[in-house]
């Protein structure tokens, strides 16, 4: 199971990179199983840290996504409509979910090392 250095993480298993991109972690996609549907907010929507950012559905489960930061959605990964399996195949890359224009700095996120420790608990 991979944890990518240089990203910040939530305890709900989302990641945030320096450009404001958001995705779910490798650990999360493993827990979900085969992702078959992703519901994301519209571009231009304002989102707040800790609130719902959308939904990821596997064959058997429906999971809420939590927003790791406050900001405005400037892009969503359109590829996921046709290829939701990208979340499983490449959670830190082509399986990204949305990109945010951050308002200020999010608080309480974990470093890669802290997140590693968190999921090993």
């Amino acid at each position: 199971m991979q944890v990518k250095d240089g990203l910040r993480y939530t305890r709900e298993h989302e990641w945030l990179d320096g450009q404001g991109r958001v995705g779910v972690t490798d650990y999360a996609q493993g827990q979900l199983g085969d992702v078959v549907f992703v519901e994301l907010p519209a571009v231009g929507q304002r989102v707040r840290q800790g609130e719902s950012l959308g939904v990821v559905e596997s064959v058997k489960s429906v999971s809420d996504l939590y927003c790791p930061a406050t900001g405005t959605v400037v892009a969503v990964n359109e590829q996921l409509a046709e290829r939701p399996e990208l979340v499983n195949q490449d959670p830190f890359g082509d399986g990204w979910l949305v990109q945010l224009d951050l308002e200020g700095e999010p608080e309480g996120l974990l470093s890669a090392d802290d997140y590693r420790g968190f999921i090993e608990e």
Partner: protein, 380 residues
């Protein structure tokens, strides 16, 4: 990310384990509570397990299913009164599917009845209904003659072998022929991997295949399972079992059937035998419902832009349409690649081609009534 509790499974008390529990855990299965047992939901991928059954062969541990022997002089007459189908007409060596109803027409359970002798039947019911079924079988053991009912649910191991390669696989491991069994045919005392079993040509996936009953559970069930796996069968969890049965439009108790849903509403009227000479439990209520006309019925939906899960409401976009439907089961269809659902809807909406809508969380998405089943295997 957080699971919002709309997954599958329920549990009460200490869950039971099948004889294959350790094997599942050792092989990395994701385990979850189901029907009072801890069962494998998936090993690696529900989608790949589903695909294996449609294109090759998969094996399922379904030892959680409940089994009851019903034996004695009056066994056939007892069963004719208990269920809506017609067990006394069943030839020895055959099985049938049937609903079992309450006097008000609601469904106690749906089950398979295997006839192994003139007066010897094996009933296979849902694990989640085990206690209710056991009580119902006893409560109705009054007439015309008392029969012997033996609950062997914990003693019997059960493995389903399903898929186009099932015949070849089971034939290679069985001492008696199985390829000549017709659909719903069965044979007793078939040795599979050296273990004495009952083999029936039945299943819950829409594919050809068998269900193998191992009367003495324990290492015997494991020996059969390991032989099947070693011969190339793919282990499949309950997650794919659910998507397979949904595509094949096979009902799941608690979803398409319940004490509140009659077999007629669930589209199971072929299994309700009005021509049976003697009365059966629920007959009068079901007949009244049939004569009055159904107010709702089960339909298949193809959904666009979201997955309609069990419990989501169904509406009609027609101005002035009243009433509301309910999704009973819904998922992504691995074979079709689109979301599908079964739903109970007002009968006026049940026609194939009707455009409906499903409320998914905060959104409303289109859904069209389609012909069932969603998937039918090609005749060989």
């Amino acid at each position: 990310m957080g699971n919002n509790g709309r997954g599958m499974g329920e549990a009460e008390g200490e869950p039971l384990r099948t004889p294959l529990y350790e094997w599942h855990v050792a092989h990395g299965a994701r385990m979850a509570a189901f029907g009072g047992y801890v069962m494998p939901m998936e090993y690696k991928s529900i989608l790949r397990e589903h695909q294996s059954v449609r294109t090759a062969v998969g094996i399922f541990d379904v030892s959680h299913m409940a089994e009851f022997w019903v034996t004695g002089d009056g066994a056939a007459a007892y069963l004719d009164r208990l269920v809506t189908n017609w067990p006394s007409r069943l030839e020895v060596g055959h099985a049938l599917y049937t609903p079992m109803c309450y006097p008000d027409g609601g469904t106690v359970d749906d089950l398979l009845i295997l006839r192994l002798g003139e007066d010897r039947f094996l009933l296979v019911t849902n694990a989640a209904n085990h206690d209710d079924d056991a009580a119902w079988l006893q409560a109705n053991n009054l007439w015309p003659a008392r029969v012997d009912i033996a609950d062997v649910s914990r003693a019997v191991g059960l493995i389903a072998v399903q898929g186009p390669d099932a015949v070849r696989l089971v034939s290679s491991l069985a001492t008696s022929p199985v390829s000549d069994l017709p659909g719903f045919g069965l044979r007793e005392d078939v040795e599979v991997a050296g273990i004495r079993t009952i083999v029936s040509r039945t299943g819950y996936t829409g594919e050809d295949g068998f269900e193998i009953y191992v009367p003495e559970t324990g290492h015997e069930t494991l020996a059969v399972w390991e032989a099947l796996a070693a011969a190339g069968a793919v282990p499949v969890g309950l997650g794919a079992r659910d998507t397979l049965r949904l595509e094949a439009r096979l009902p799941l108790y608690g979803h398409e059937l319940s004490s509140e849903i009659t077999p007629l509403e669930a589209g199971l009227s072929p299994f309700v035998k009005w021509e049976k000479p003697d009365d059966f439990v629920g007959r009068e209520a079901l007949w009244r419902q049939k004569e009055a006309g159904l107010t709702r019925r089960l339909v298949g939906l193809k959904v666009e832009g979201g997955i309609a899960r069990a419990g989501y409401p169904v509406h009609s976009p027609e101005a002035g349409a009243h009433g509301v439907g309910l999704v009973t089961s819904g998922s992504h269809s691995p074979t079709l690649g689109v979301p599908i659902a079964l739903a109970l809807v007002p009968v006026a909406w049940a026609k194939v081609g009707t455009e409906l809508q499903v409320s998914i969380r905060t959104r409303t998405v289109p859904a069209r009534v389609v012909r069932l089943p969603f998937y039918r295997r090609e005749a060989v």
